[in-house]
Homo-oligomer: 574 residues x 2
């Protein structure tokens, strides 16, 4: 007999119990209408994830328990098993990352995550106590195991060994954030686990932006032969259904030699028998959603992260400085796709060093996007600063000081529009700049969010091209895409005056930052000594700037955000 | 026979192996000259603490091993046992927080910290593997136990139980940062441990500033009766000596019933016999250093934190905006004491809203301190912005926008002096402002360091008064101390127009932030509902600003820094 499962790939908001509960109830109703036997929600979906230090707040913990009970009351007359990720706090104020199993008004059982995530931006070991008991649900002869988040990643744990040969289906309640290449890795891992255990695997992932993180959804169901039977869309909220045949798991197990569990302690397994009628029903269509390519994934992640950051923080609109360069062009484009062209204001702020071409390119982009733009010259303001500083700066030569003055005038103007009209400010930093400190703090870096902060310049171009491709139009013009990058803060300035060509720079940065290669490693790989030293020096000396940047959207394994913990004060030795 | 121990209360710099080794060698030489039997260094003193993600860098780890070996080679012909805190990395790249025991050129043993710190700004569990073995050194019949950092805090651990009745002296290598009230707490704890175990305790603590943290030194030696025999100065680097009579511990043990260890496993204890002659020597004088009162401790912590942040980051001088208010006045004063009056530049930047009194107060303070100051009017600049924005802001009314413009003009000017002349910028935020968001991001918050960021406004006044008291002069004038706080960004503005009186505000903030009381708790305590809601709303809504502030010096248990992890995106429910 097939079991029908509803997968609620929901977008929660941290701390918004009322809003989250409303969504959860709505999905339960829909699942009942579609005769689902079980509905599965993501990890901690009732609280939003990650709540970070809100977990140290007793009120937040009490509200979580109250909310779980509210869902239980709501379920009294519903013939569906509800499996809900939630923070659980016991009488001793031990806190658990739990999956609540709710049936007909009862809190039947709580499975508590046993292997806590050590990812630095989750830091679960700081907050949670690990659970001890493995929970299996028995539903008309079908054994269903529950796992939370990345505990399913640990192959050698006694945990999976215990599940081996015991379960027909493993539910995985997740809140797993996006990064490049993750989809393939994690789908591959789920397939491996399915075959390892000869079990169905159902991965139900959260969706939505939360500060730096974008939960990418993309829930899947893998059959016991390692084949994906359902894959829900990436980056979209929704309710998806699957009919699972538990016998397939039993048959698959017969193919393999039965293995003895490495570690067996009956005390650590609790089997919950749920007595529920499973109706014969018409089989649901299988959902096959296309997995977008790498740059489209980046596009979608930025779009969702940007949208949720703006809206969840109570803003309706954004403002940004448009320079005529590719970075601000792409930020403007992404903002339009995320929150609509009527909600994006572009400020074009030319100085004496701005080329006509840049001015024209900026205007053309604004027109292509159909967004409101204003041209506000900063010439007079810049001159006024030079005047105010004339006496003090007597006898000094033009250097970054004068360049930074211009960037900070622009920062001040953009912030003024934000203060006056309530727009959120978008900053246009990219990862190559952030890594090297090639930007003006409080100037071009000013803002509430820097959507492209985790894209290297070379990647940023690829996403810009993808943007045009998706829209089937050269919204970002050839002129913008093809001109040499420049901050235009002094005559005839080019980025490459101070930085190596981006193709080389980005390679070095990736190896140094994301692959942890040392100066010596890189030297051995044949990079030029001078170039290497200069790049590494820039990275090591700009930590203080990175500490003061707005958050960006995490798109890589190692972004400059919560998982990056480098001292400012230090001596770097080659 | 007394054992003479040299306590090296040193100030290391993270990653500066050459500099740290030079200091360490110098102290070893001095200890030998003074016929010490043992020299003890703080936790991780060869690497600097905390190295954070540098611990993920293989080169950093290799350099640590190389440095330990260099100290060993240096010790070949010296008749002294060296106990040195250092990062240890084994062949499998497991990393340990270790105490290296070095004698006559040999790495005799490595004690690996067993109970790792869970303090969020150390996050040791992320990096280190815990050790398993308890190490005892035997020196002419005297048993010496080794502990690292806060593992000595855990009374009930099997660890201390094992040491019980077995040791005459426990060395504690620490890198413990300052916070208010800590000194009493930690000295009290050491005394308790000494009596518990009937053992001498020698606590050797690091000194110096490292980003947010100030290690406060104040090493002590407690005798087996719980009496402090030596206390080294707080906030000062130095080498201190103590003669310890191990028999005192043996006699003290006779007074107590012998206890059976709670947990005994001989495999987990390793006893290292060091065959060293202990000379008869003239007894050293006992060092008794005065423990300063609470506000003097704060003064000293800020002074050292500021000095080390400036100098260790390669700066020689600082610049700041001087408003005539108490915050910037105290920052200027602290900077003068930290790095000398010739290295402090004050910018006085009056606008149309600046009172004559503020201008005069600022000038008078600069004259009192004997620092260079410049008066740069921002009137014209402010008017130029109003002009540039006139058309766009048509029909709107004066609000925070115009206020922030002024603050950001000042921020731009201060940063320009930094860029042009290489001064580090000091920001003048206090904790009450940072908590409520009552400041202009990129304006008055701009800078490399905010020395007073962890002082509530009411505390800041107390430290200002203490400053005058220490200097025996009214350097910070009555006029500055007595006028009502104002940002002077609009006519007749007072902080209390928007904030409750600081005496109430700071009480609420302390309870909410540092004691984790909820809105409901505070309401029950009798605070006004409107005031409470407004304060909590300000705190909850200004997270995004706090994320972009320069680091401050940690002075309390909970500062807005590395240990504060609150989501920006969230819904707060009363």
């Amino acid at each position: 007999m097939d079991i029908r499962i509803a997968i609620a790939q929901i977008n929660s908001l941290v701390g918004d119990y009322q809003g989250n509960i409303k969504k959860i109830k709505n999905y339960i109703d829909q699942a009942c209408e579609n005769k689902a036997d079980i509905i599965v929600f993501p990890e901690m979906c009732i609280n939003g994830y990650p709540p970070e230090d809100l977990l140290l707040n007793t009120q937040f913990l009490k509200d979580s328990l109250k909310s779980i009970k509210e869902i239980a009351s709501f379920s009294v007359d519903k013939d569906i098993v509800i499996i809900l990720g939630a923070v659980e706090c016991d009488e001793d104020y031990d806190i658990f990352n739990s999956a609540q199993i709710i049936f007909k008004g009862n809190l039947v059982e709580s499975y508590r995550k046993r292997i806590l995530s050590s990812l630095p931006f989750f830091d679960e070991r700081r907050y949670f106590k690990p659970g001890e008991v493995i929970t299996l649900i028995e539903l008309k002869g079908t054994k269903i195991g529950i796992t939370i988040g990345d505990e399913i990643h640990f192959q050698d744990s006694s945990f999976l060994s215990l599940l081996d040969n015991k379960v027909d289906l493993i539910l995985n309640l997740s809140a797993s954030p996006f990064y490049k290449k993750k989809i393939n890795l994690s789908y591959g891992m789920m397939k491996t686990r399915a075959v390892d255990l000869a079990s169905w695997i159902l991965y139900c992932n959260m969706v939505g932006g939360q500060d730096e993180l974008v939960f990418d959804g993309g829930s899947i169901v893998v059959n016991p032969y390692g084949v994906v039977e359902i894959n829900a869309p990436l980056f979209e909220e929704g309710l998806y259904f699957v009919d699972i045949n538990p016998d397939q798991a039993k048959r698959a197990k017969l193919k393999y030699k039965k293995r003895e569990p490495i570690f067996e302690n009956k005390n650590y397994v609790r089997i919950i028998d749920i007595n529920k009628n499973i109706d014969k029903k018409v089989k649901m269509d299988t959902l096959k959603s296309e997995v977008p390519d790498e740059y489209e994934q980046l596009y979608l992640a930025i779009k969702l992260g940007l949208k949720d950051y703006v809206l969840k923080n109570g803003f309706k609109s954004v403002v940004l400085g448009l320079s005529g360069g590719v970075d601000s062009a792409l930020v403007a484009c992404m903002a339009v796709d995320a929150i609509g062209k009527e909600n994006v204001l572009a400020l074009i702020m030319p100085s004496q060093f701005t080329s006509n071409k840049s001015l024209e390119d900026a205007v053309e982009l604004a027109l292509n996007l159909g967004i409101e733009y204003k041209i506000i010259s900063i010439k007079e303001l810049y001159n006024a600063y030079l005047q105010a500083l004339k006496e003090s700066f007597e006898g000094t030569v033009f250097n970054e000081t004068e360049e930074n003055l211009q960037a900070r005038i622009r920062g001040n103007i953009v912030m003024a529009f934000s203060n006056k009209f309530g727009h959120l400010v978008l900053a246009c930093d990219n990862k190559s700049e952030v890594a090297t400190g090639y930007s003006t703090l409080y100037g071009d870096t000013a803002g509430g969010l820097a959507p492209l902060k985790d894209l290297y310049k070379t990647e940023l171009y690829k996403v810009a091209e993808k943007y045009n491709e998706i829209h089937n139009r050269e919204i970002i013009t050839k002129s913008i895409l093809e001109k040499p990058p420049s901050a235009e803060l002094r005559p005839n300035q080019k980025d490459e005056d101070k930085l190596p060509p981006y193709s080389i720079l980005d390679e070095i940065l990736f190896d140094y930052i994301e692959r942890g290669k040392s100066y010596q490693d890189l030297l051995n790989e044949g990079y030029d000594e001078e170039v290497l030293k200069s790049v590494i020096n820039m990275v090591e000396r700009s930590e203080w700037k990175r500490r003061q940047l707005p958050p960006g959207i995490k798109l890589s394994e190692i972004n400059f955000g919560k998982g990056w913990n480098m001292p400012i004060t230090k001596k770097y030795q080659f």
